[in-house]
């Protein structure tokens, strides 16, 4: 999956990939104060290429939980299941439905996206990416966006969560790279000096098929140096 970190202070963005085997579950957000956790499980192409460099991976399942109120949301491209304690409610991506309960609001927009809000100040959007059913290579997959997170605590961590706190970086020494359209540069971040490449990713919040181009500095090697620790530190045994 591609990760994009927008940095409004610099009017710029940083991006990186995490390449892991299909089935791996990654911790995206964990906030011990609000009790919110978001994990994502990786899926691969239909063909299942053994070459990890050639393989494309996506999020095929997301698990969003609020441990403080025992509620969980499991999202796959097929269905959406909300758990309150042990009691499940199941919805399809063919539903347009809004549900509200204490401290949680979920809106599923038929075949497009779902908006999950935990009170005021925490809103996530899950995008459904549907591929042509007979497409030989790819599965339907999910996108996950944090559109509001100011109520998350300073202790929030995870592959995305660690970037909720202000952080600084510097990019300099922009020079031609191996691809003439994509210059390389040096980035100073979290006391690391990294070689980054100018590239672009897409924001699919408005349109899941076309998307809006977002220019970003790409950090190689699974975000090494940008993320705290190693990407394998974020692997967790289960979705919840």
């Amino acid at each position: 999956p591609h990760f994009i970190i927008q940095v409004p202070e610099k009017d710029d963005a940083i991006c990186f990939n995490i390449d892991e085997d299909p089935g791996t579950v990654l911790r995206l957000i964990q906030d011990p104060v609000t009790g919110l956790t978001v994990n994502g499980q990786i899926i691969g192409d239909k063909a299942g290429s053994p070459d990890s460099k050639a393989r494309k991976t996506y999020f095929g399942k997301l698990g969003i939980a609020n441990t403080h109120v025992s509620s969980r949301i499991e999202v796959t491209p097929e269905k959406i299941t909300l758990w309150n304690g042990d009691t499940p409610s199941t919805f399809s991506w063919l539903d347009t439905v809004t549900l509200t309960q204490d401290g949680l609001s979920v809106k599923i927009n038929k075949k497009k996206n779902m908006v999950i809000s935990f009170g005021d100040g925490v809103t996530f959007v899950v995008i459904l990416h549907e591929v042509w059913k007979k497409q030989p290579a790819h599965h339907d997959f999910l996108g996950f966006y944090v559109v509001e997170g100011h109520r998350m605590s300073a202790q929030t961590h995870g592959l995305l969560g660690q970037f909720f706190h202000p952080f600084d970086y510097e990019v300099f020494d922009i020079h031609p790279g191996s691809d003439p359209t994509k210059p390389d540069a040096t980035m100073l971040v979290k006391n690391h000096r990294l070689t980054v490449t100018r590239g672009s990713q897409k924001d699919y919040r408005k349109d899941a098929s076309i998307g809006r181009k977002v220019s970003c500095w790409f950090v190689h090697n699974n975000g090494q140096g940008l993320i705290d620790g190693d990407h394998r530190d974020y692997i967790v045994p289960a979705l919840f």
């Binding site: 909300l82 009691t87 409610s89 539903d95 549900l99």
Partner: protein, 617 residues
């Protein structure tokens, strides 16, 4: 040396039952053709058993190639014609209740030697979803061998990209109670044809009587990708709603059980058996209590108790020890139950997100305490005040079912007959299962006020798992391109709003691309539903309101050619300088009334006066 299938000079050479279901709306045509092979005029009778919930929409007689169509008239007008015919000694027939689900349409006609007659009866029905299934039911019982006997059913569905239903899951054909064939059929169009040959119909190799005596049942459910489905044709729309995957809302149930002397014996035993089985199915987060009534009212517990394993065990012991005694005090028992539920809510003894239900079972009329039905109704309505539904179960024949029906309807529930039979306990349990799984409460189906008119009922206290909410209406502007429908309600854990965006242009385009014959079934479905609901409302109205409801239902019945309790169908055959008149109408639920209301008369000028045979229930 009579030809095959000739009985008493009459050969019924063809009977065809043709059923077409388009989005739950069934259109059925029963056609029988007969010829009189005798040397003299003979009587030919035509019996059809049709569902009680169906409306006859047409009946025609064709004699020697001349067709006499049926006209729907206001009952009083038809009655005068009928009375005139009967006073002149004409043949009379009846439509009356027959068994649990059916009513019987019967007509006889005298046919001259060598003449042919064709009977064609058309009826329509909105199939309702119970326990996750729609059921189309036909009674197959020809009186003699029929050369061409055929039942054809066709389930047509407007398959479209928006996810309308697209599959009939199973067909079940049961004949003679023995043969059971299940056929899975994939739509867009499912078709079942049952066409036994003469030899297959014979009860034995040389017999002339028919083996066919059974139920032809088609059960199916629709392939429901999304909880809602709106279909629009010619400015009329129907909205089906049945969400799945929602958790069950905990319920608080008060069982109000008649233990008067008349329940003695089998009825009480069956009631106990049913209650014991129901208790096995009660979920732990439900609350319950029993209120027993005879001359007095007693309760199992002072207030509602949670259905914990221990309490269920105690409840079972209580049920096993119920004894019959005394008279029937419905009023006090119901008021006690209602008060108990209200108090439990006020005192927060039950979960906030839970729903309350009163289920009353009685086998007789109130005869002690407040025994005036209208006063009981008034008291109960006032006490419940719209807060929860009341379901009435009328056990056996000796009760005022109309009173139970009316009282339940005005308190957002319904009444159900429990037939005194070996399976009465299963009937009771079956009813409970229907209401045992509420998935949503306080359901409101909302449309934009300025765009929609003549809406059928759009608020429901409960949505039960396995049922379906059906709302129909008209678009104010037939050329509008888009409207939105919201279904709001409370679930077990959260408040829910399901939204349907109806793109009429896209729907019209899809419709044109599909090779389906839509006709005006949505308009007729709307009319059917509207009449049905007007008739229900009419049961509990008085004075001017009742007159208005009657006038509206009558107008629609006449306009759409439905034989309802307000109309009759008249078939007139001008012949021999005298009119021959046949009248068909619909009996009410009161069996005693239906047995004395003749509804079909057919003048026979060249036969001695006689009354056709009518089977009762």
């Amino acid at each position: 040396s009579l030809p095959e299938g000739v009985v008493n000079g009459i050969e019924v050479y063809s009977t065809k039952v043709s059923c077409k279901v388009t989005s739950r709306f069934a259109h059925n045509v029963v056609t029988t053709r007969a010829v009189n092979r005798a040397d003299t005029a003979k009587e030919v009778s035509f019996d059809v058993e049709l569902p009680k919930t169906a409306f006859i929409t047409n009946f025609t007689l064709t004699i020697d190639g001349v067709t006499y169509p049926g006209n729907v008239k206001e009952k009083e007008v038809a009655k005068k014609q009928y009375e005139k015919a009967v006073s002149q000694g004409k043949t009379a027939g009846l439509v009356k209740a027959s068994g649990r689900k059916l009513e019987k349409f019967t007509v006889s006609v005298n046919v001259a030697a060598g003449s042919k007659v064709t009977f064609e009866l058309t009826y329509e029905e909105l199939l309702k979803r119970h326990k996750g299934k729609y059921e189309m039911y036909l009674k197959v019982k020809p009186k003699q061998l029929i050369k061409h006997f055929e039942v054809i059913t066709c389930c047509c569905s407007p398959a479209n990209p928006a996810g309308w239903e697209s599959r009939v899951q199973s067909h079940t054909l049961e004949l003679g109670g023995a043969a059971l064939i299940e056929i899975s059929i994939f739509l867009p169009q499912g078709r079942v044809s049952f066409k036994p040959s003469l030899d297959q119909q014979r009860s034995c190799p040389n017999c002339t009587d028919s083996l066919l005596d059974g139920d032809f049942t088609i059960t199916y459910d629709v392939n429901r990708e999304s909880p809602g489905n709106v279909q629009v044709i010619n400015g009329y729309f129907v909205h089906f709603f049945a969400p799945q995957g929602l958790p069950v809302v905990p319920k608080n149930v008060v069982f109000v059980i008649d233990i008067s002397g008349s329940m003695q014996g089998r009825k009480m035993q069956q009631t106990k058996d049913a209650l014991l089985r129901i208790l096995q199915d009660v979920k732990e987060d439900d609350y319950l209590n029993f209120i027993l009534f005879s001359s007095d009212v007693t309760t199992w517990k002072e207030s509602l108790v949670q259905a914990t394993p221990q309490n269920i065990q105690l409840a079972k012991e209580f049920v096993k020890n119920i004894k019959v005694e005394g008279a029937t005090n419905i009023n006090d028992a119901l008021l006690r139950g209602i008060e108990m539920l209200k108090k439990a809510r006020e005192e927060h003894l039950i979960p906030e997100r839970s729903t309350s239900i009163v289920i009353m079972l009685t086998d007789g009329d109130a005869n002690t305490g407040e025994s005036r039905p209208e006063k009981i109704q008034e008291n109960v309505k006032k006490a419940i005040d719209g807060e929860f539904p009341l379901y009435n179960l009328g056990f056996g024949k000796y009760l005022n079912y109309n009173f139970l029906d009316s009282m339940a309807l005005e308190n957002n529930g319904f009444a159900r007959r429990i037939y005194e039979d070996s399976d009465a306990d299963l009937q009771l349990q079956g009813f409970y299962e229907e209401v045992a799984r509420p998935l949503m409460t306080g359901v409101e189906v909302e449309y934009p006020h300025n765009d929609i008119q003549d809406l059928t009922q759009n608020t429901y206290q409960h949505f039960y798992d396995g049922s379906e909410i059906v709302v129909a209406g008209q678009l104010v502007d037939k050329d509008m391109s888009h409207f939105k429908a919201d279904v709001k309600g409370h679930g077990a854990l959260n408040d829910l709003t399901f939204t349907e965006d109806v793109d009429l242009e896209e729907m019209e385009k899809a419709r044109k691309e599909q090779d389906y014959i839509f006709g005006n079934y949505i308009e007729r479905l709307w009319a059917y539903l509207t009449i049905e609901q007007l008739l229900d409302k009419r049961k509990n109205s008085h004075g001017e309101e009742k007159e208005n409801l009657t006038a509206q239902a009558l107008e629609l019945s006449l306009k759409y050619h439905f034989v309802t309790p307000l109309t009759s169908m008249v078939v007139t055959k001008p012949e021999d300088n005298d009119d021959q008149t046949a009248i068909a109408d619909k009996p009410g639920d009161d069996p005693s009334a239906s047995s004395v209301v003749p509804v079909m008369a057919y003048q026979v000028s060249y036969q001695p006066p006689q009354v056709t045979y009518v089977d009762g229930d």
